[in-house]
C-alpha cells in the first residue's frame, strides 16, 4: 500500500503540474474556409451532384432501402432529385405524438420532402456552423432539449414554417438562379437533411427520404440508426463539414446541438456505383427542378442572389444584400408609405447600426469560439413591405426569410387594427382574437396599445405557459399540449395552412396568409421588434441568423443606436403579466460582445 501510495502521489503530481502549465485555448481565428470562403470555386458542379446521389444510392442499396434524394445549392436551387426504383412516392407528415390536426397526417410527395430536407441542411449552415434537419428537429420542440422537463421550448420554435412555398422574400424557379429559394414544405425537422461543404465553405445540401415518414426525432437522448440520415451521410461523403464546426461542438445555454446520430455506414461511399448505372431516375419536380442534374451557384456572386451591398453606407460595413436576376438590389433602404413613416435614411441607419452590433456580438452558434454573430436584418413599414434588408456575409440563409417573418409578426400584433385584421380571417384564425384577449387580460386587446415583440408573442404561442413548464395551460396562440405537435402549433400555422397545403400540391404562388402585412407568414421566436416614433407605430425590424438573444440584441440596439429608440417602456409587452407570469419583451445575451467585459448592455434602453 505505501508503495502504491507513492506511485499515486507521483502520478498526481505529474498530472497536476502538467495541468498547471496549461493555458487558455486559442480563439478568434477565422472559419475553416478562411480566407477562401467567398471563392467563386465554392460551388457544386454537376459531377459533385452526381457523386452525392451515387454515394447515397449506394448506401440505400446496402440497406435495402429505396430512397428519394435531392441536392440543392446553398441558396436553395434544386440541382437534382433522384428517385430510386421502388421509392415510395409519398411521405406522411407525422409528428409522432399521436395527435391530429394541422399538418398531421398530410401526405406529401417524397420529392418535395427530400427538397425541403436538403434546403434545411443548406440554409441552417454556414462557414461557422454545420447544422442539419436533425438540428432543426431538436430546436423546434416544446422543450429544449426535447425531453428535458421544465426547460423552455426550442430556441427556433416555429422556424419550420419559414421559407414557405409562398414567401415573397424567397424566390421560385421562375426567378432564375437567385436565392434564397422557397422550400415546398418549409424547413424540415426530419433527420436526413445535411449540408454539403467544399473547401470548408457550405455549398449546398442533400436531403433524403426513404422511410415514408416526414417526421421528427422526439427522443434526442438515444442514438438513432436513421435510414434517411445514414443515406444522407453517405451522400455527403467528401462534402462533409469541417469537424470543428459541426453542431455537436456548438452550444446554446450549454446544450450541444445534434448534427447526426449515427455514421455507421453499410456501404463504402468511395466505391459507390457509377451515376449512370444507378437504379432509378432523375425526376422533374414542377416549380423546382427538371429531370436533369444542374450546377450550383457560388454563394456571394450575383447569380446566387446574395452579393456585397453597393449602397455606400452598407458597403462600408461589408454588408451583403439580395439582388434579383438582373443584379438589381431587391431591398435597398427605402422610405415607408404614409405620413410619418420611416425615411430611407432611417432605414439605412437601422440596418447599419444592426450590422455594427452584429460585428461586435459574440456568436452563439458559430465556431471558432470568439466569432462574431452573422445575421440578416429586415425593416418593414406599416404595410409589412420590406424597406430594407442587409446581412453580414455569412448569415445562415434561413434568416433571410425569417427576419422578415419576425418583423411582420411583431408588426401584425402591434398594429392598432390587429384584432380587426385577424378577426376578419376565416376560422380558426379569427378565434384567436378573443382567446388572446381573455388570456392576456388588460393589454391583450390587440388594439395598438401594446408593443409586441416576437419574444413576447412566443411566450403566448407555446403549448405550455410559462414556456416549458409542465402541467400548465397552453398560451392563447398555441394548440393545447394534448393536441399539439411541431406540425400543429396553432396560430402561426393556421395563418398559412391553406397556402402551405397548396404548396404541398405543387403551388408556388406568392402570398402565404390572407394578410398583406404578413405575406410570408409570421415568426414566433425572438428577434422581431415594432418601431415607434413618438409612441406611434411606424414599422418593425426583424433579425435572424444567430442565437435568439443575439437576434434580439441586434434588433434592440439597432433601434436604440439609430436614434429612433425602442418602443416606449410603458407600452412594451413585458408590462403585462398574463395569468400572473410576466412576459419577456427582449433578452440580450450574456457576455454580448467579443473582447469585452460589458454585460447587461440592453438595460434601461
Amino acid at each position: 500500500m505505501p508503495a502504491d501510495g507513492r506511485l499515486a502521489a507521483a502520478r498526481a503530481l505529474v498530472l497536476v503540474a502538467a495541468a498547471a502549465l496549461g493555458c487558455a485555448g486559442s480563439s478568434g481565428s477565422g472559419p475553416p474556409c478562411a480566407p477562401n470562403c467567398l471563392s467563386s470555386a465554392n460551388f457544386l458542379s454537376a459531377a459533385d451532384v452526381q457523386r452525392v446521389i451515387a454515394q447515397g444510392v449506394g448506401e440505400a442499396q446496402a440497406r435495402g432501402a429505396a430512397a428519394t434524394i435531392a441536392v440543392v445549392d446553398r441558396v436553395g436551387n434544386v440541382l437534382a432529385v433522384f428517385q430510386m426504383t421502388g421509392a415510395a412516392p409519398n411521405a406522411a407528415i407525422a409528428g409522432g405524438r399521436g395527435v391530429a390536426g394541422g399538418l398531421e397526417g398530410v401526405t406529401a410527395p417524397s420529392t418535395l420532402a427530400a427538397i425541403a430536407k436538403a434546403i434545411t441542411g443548406a440554409y441552417l449552415s454556414s462557414w461557422g456552423n454545420a447544422f442539419s434537419s436533425r438540428t432543426a428537429g431538436q430546436i423546434v420542440q416544446e422543450n429544449f432539449n426535447p425531453g428535458e422537463a421544465q426547460a423552455p421550448s426550442g430556441p427556433l420554435y416555429g422556424v419550420q414554417f419559414s421559407q414557405l412555398s409562398c414567401s415573397d422574400v424567397n424566390t421560385n424557379a421562375a426567378q432564375g438562379s437567385v436565392g434564397p429559394k422557397r422550400s415546398p414544405l418549409g424547413l424540415s425537422a426530419d433527420p436526413g437533411g445535411l449540408p454539403l461543404y467544399k473547401n470548408g465553405a457550405v455549398v449546398g445540401g442533400v436531403g433524403v427520404i426513404a422511410d415514408g415518414v416526414y417526421g421528427i426525432d422526439l427522443n434526442v437522448f438515444d442514438v438513432d440508426q436513421d435510414t434517411d440520415e445514414l443515406i444522407a451521410v453517405a451522400g455527403s461523403a467528401g462534402f462533409a463539414p469541417p469537424e470543428d464546426i459541426r453542431g455537436e461542438r456548438i452550444t446554446a445555454n450549454g446544450h450541444a446541438f445534434r448534427f447526426v446520430d449515427s455514421e455507421s455506414l453499410a456501404s463504402n461511399p468511395a466505391s459507390a456505383p457509377a451515376f449512370a448505372v444507378l437504379p432509378g431516375a432523375l425526376v422533374a419536380v414542377p416549380g423546382y427542378v427538371g429531370a436533369a442534374v444542374g450546377t450550383g451557384v457560388a454563394f456571394g456572386t450575383a447569380a446566387s442572389g446574395y452579393r456585397p451591398a453597393t449602397t455606400p453606407a452598407l458597403a462600408a460595413l461589408g454588408a451583403f444584400t439580395l439582388v434579383d436576376s438582373g443584379d438589381a438590389e431587391r431591398f435597398p433602404p427605402t422610405a415607408g408609405a404614409g405620413a410619418g413613416a420611416l425615411t430611407a435614411s432611417e432605414v439605412s441607419r437601422i440596418l447599419e447600426e444592426g450590422l455594427k452590433v452584429a460585428q461586435r456580438a459574440r456568436a452563439q452558434i458559430r465556431r471558432p469560439l470568439g466569432s462574431a454573430a452573422e445575421v440578416s436584418i429586415v425593416v418593414v413599414d406599416l404595410n409589412g413591405d420590406i424597406l430594407g434588408l442587409a446581412r453580414t456575409p455569412d448569415a445562415p440563409l434561413f434568416g433571410t426569410d425569417v427576419a422578415a417573418q419576425k418583423a411582420r409578426g411583431a408588426l401584425l400584433f402591434s398594429l392598432a387594427n390587429a384584432a380587426a385584421l385577424i378577426a376578419a380571417l376565416p376560422a380558426p384564425v379569427a378565434g384567436y382574437v378573443p382567446a388572446f384577449a381573455a388570456f392576456v387580460g388588460a393589454g391583450g386587446s390587440l388594439d395598438g396599445g401594446t408593443a409586441w415583440s416576437t419574444r413576447a408573442l412566443g411566450n403566448l404561442h407555446r403549448p405550455m405557459y410559462p414556456d416549458g413548464i409542465g402541467g400548465t395551460p397552453a398560451g392563447p396562440l398555441s394548440r393545447p399540449l394534448a393536441s399539439w405537435s411541431p406540425f400543429n402549433v396553432g396560430f402561426q400555422l393556421d395563418l398559412v395552412q391553406a397556402q402551405f397545403l397548396a404548396g404541398v400540391g405543387g403551388s408556388t404562388a406568392t402570398g402565404c396568409s390572407g394578410l398583406s402585412v404578413a405575406t410570408n407568414g409570421i415568426q414566433i421566436f425572438p428577434g422581431g421588434l415594432p418601431i415607434y416614433r413618438s409612441g406611434v407605430l411606424i414599422g418593425a425590424a426583424g433579425v435572424s441568423g444567430d442565437g435568439v438573444d443575439q437576434d434580439d440584441m441586434v434588433a434592440f440596439l439597432a433601434l436604440s443606436n439609430s436614434g429612433l429608440g425602442n418602443a416606449p417602456s410603458a407600452m412594451r409587452a413585458d408590462q403585462l403579466s398574463p395569468q400572473g407570469s410576466g412576459l419577456r419583451y427582449v433578452q440580450c445575451p450574456q457576455s454580448p460582445f467579443n473582447g469585452s467585459t460589458e454585460q447587461n448592455v440592453c438595460a434601461g434602453l
Binding site: 452550444t251 470568439g370 400548465t472
Partner: protein
Amino acid sequence: MRRAVALAGGTLLLAGLALAQETPPASEDTRLPPESNPGEEVIQRRPGRSEPLQFFPPPVDPRQVPAPSAAQPRETLPVPDRWRIMQGLGYRHPWYDPYNQNVLKGDLPISAGSDWFFNLSAVSDTLLEARRLPTPVPPQTSTRAGSSDVFGQGRQSTVSETLIVSMSLIKGDTTFRPPDLELRLTPAFNVNRSAAEEDRVLFADPAKGRTRDDSQVALQEAFADVHLRNASPRYDFDSLRVGIQPFTSDFRGFVFQDVPFGVRLFGTRDNNRWQYNLAWFRRVEKDTNSGLNDIGKGLRGDDTFVANAYRQDFPAPGFTSQATAMVNRNKEDKGQYYDSNGFLTRPAAVGDERPHAYRVTYLGYNGDGHFGRMNLSVSLYAALGHDDHNPVAGRPQDIRAGFAAAELSRDFSWVRVRLNALLQSGDKDPFDDKATGFDAILENPQFAGADSSFWVRQAVPLIGGGGVALSGRNGVLASLRSSKDEGQSNFVNPGLALVGAGADIDLTPHWRLTGNLSYLQFQNTEVLGVLRNQAPPSRSIGWDASVGAQWRPFMSQNMVLSASAAALLPGEGLKQLYDTSQSGPLYSILANLLLAF
C-alpha cells in the same frame, strides 16, 4: 458518611477521605490476594512482548492511611454496579445534565447489571445566510418589467434549522476496551426557507415565486457496528460496520465525505499505529434543499470501494500518513433525475445531455501532522478511469486527472498562521478522448476558510452555459456539476489553482477570529468557452477574502455562535462570464448557532 458527603458538596476528594475514616478488620476479606511482603520483588506482566516490569514496592509506612478494605455491612449502601457507586453515595444529577454522570450519555448502563449503554446526543444547528450571486432572469418570463438582459438581481437568503438526534445502544464495557456492539440511529429534522430576487432560481417553474419553504426528515446514520475480535492484547481490533454511516476519505474531506450506506471493515494494528478501512459504500439520494439523506428516494446507482491505511508517526513522529485507493463506479446512465425543485440533475443539463456512466480509481496519499513546530496537511490524488460518454465531449473519454493540496501552518502563541495551496487539474480539449479535469466523489473540503469562504461556500451557476455551477456549494473544485450532492462527477472541467493565507486568532477562551485571503484561477477555460460559446475567458477568478468570528460563551462546544463574511473580488475571467460590477459585490454572509447536548 452522608453528612460528610452533603457537607462536602459532592467532591470526590472529601468523599474518599470520609470512606477512609473507618478501619475494618483485615481478616474479613478472604478473597483478596495475599499482601506482598515488604521488600519482596513484585513482577507485573504487561500486554505485549515487552519485558515484565520488576520492582520492589516501598516499605509500609505506618503513618500512611491504611489500605482500603471491605466496608462493614451495616455501614454500606447497596450499589447496583460499579458505575453507580457515585449514585449510591448520593451523587444524583438531573437527566438533562450532560456534564455529570448521565444514563443518556452512556456514563452508566441502562439498567443495573446490564452491559448495554445508551448514548443520546442532540445538536441544533441554526443557519442564517445572505449572499449575492450572479443570477439569471427566467428565460421565459419576467420577474419584473424592463428586464432586458440575462443577469438579474442576485441577492438570496436562506434560513435553516436542523435538529440532529443521535441515539446509540452500546454493548460492552465502554471504558477499557472497544464495545462489542453498537447500534446507532441518527435522524435529522430540517426546516428551511430561502428567498431570491428572481423567479426560477428556487423552482424550475417561474410561477412558483421567490420564496421557498421546505422541510425534511432524514436518516444520517443507521448502522450496526460489530466488534469482530481483538487483534492484540492492546485491544487492536477488527470491526464491521453495516448501514448508513459517516465516512471521510482523507483528513480534509477532499474526495469523499458523506453518510452513505455501506459495509465497512476497519480496525487497528500495532497498538493503534496502523489503522485501516476496507469498505463498500452506496450513496443515498439527498434531499435537494437540506443536503440531508433522503431515504424515501432510495440509494443511488453509485458505488465506492475503499481500501486505505493510516500510519501514525510516519515518516516522522507527530505526522500521520495515509495511502488510499478508491474506486467510484457510477451507473446512473438510465433516464433522468430531477431535483426536488424541478431542475434536471442527472445527467446534467449540459452538452448533449445523454445519460452516462463512469468509473474512476482514486489513488491518493494524504498526510497530517507536524514537523517540529510546523503543522502540515497534504493531499495528493490521481484520478484514473473511464467515462462511457462525456456529454460535453459527446464521446467516451479516459479520465486522467490529478489533485494536490497542502496547508502549512505554525502557531505563534494564540495565533495560528496558515498558508494554503491547491491544484485541481483542468481539461484542455473538451472534444478529445481524454478527460483531464479532476473531480471528487462528494467533497466537503475543510480548507482555505471552508464555508466562510465565498468560493467554497457558494455555487456560482454557469449562467448561459447549462445547468451546472462553477463549483459546488461547500465545494472547492471547479467541476461544473449540476449539484455536488445529487449530480454526477464531471471530469471535463476548467480545474483550479488556489493560493492563500489565513490566520486563526484565539483572542480569549471565548473568542476566536479567523481570516482568509485566497487567489483563485482556472487551469484551462476552454470548456467554459465551449459551454458558453464564447472565446475562452481569462483564467483569473479573483480574490476571495473572508473574516469570521466564533464565540463560545461557556468555553465548550455545547454552544457555539459563529459568523463570517466573505467577498469575491472578481478577476478578468469572472468579468468575462458575469455582470460582476453592475449589480453589486459578490458576497456570502453566514451566521450559525450550534447548540449541542
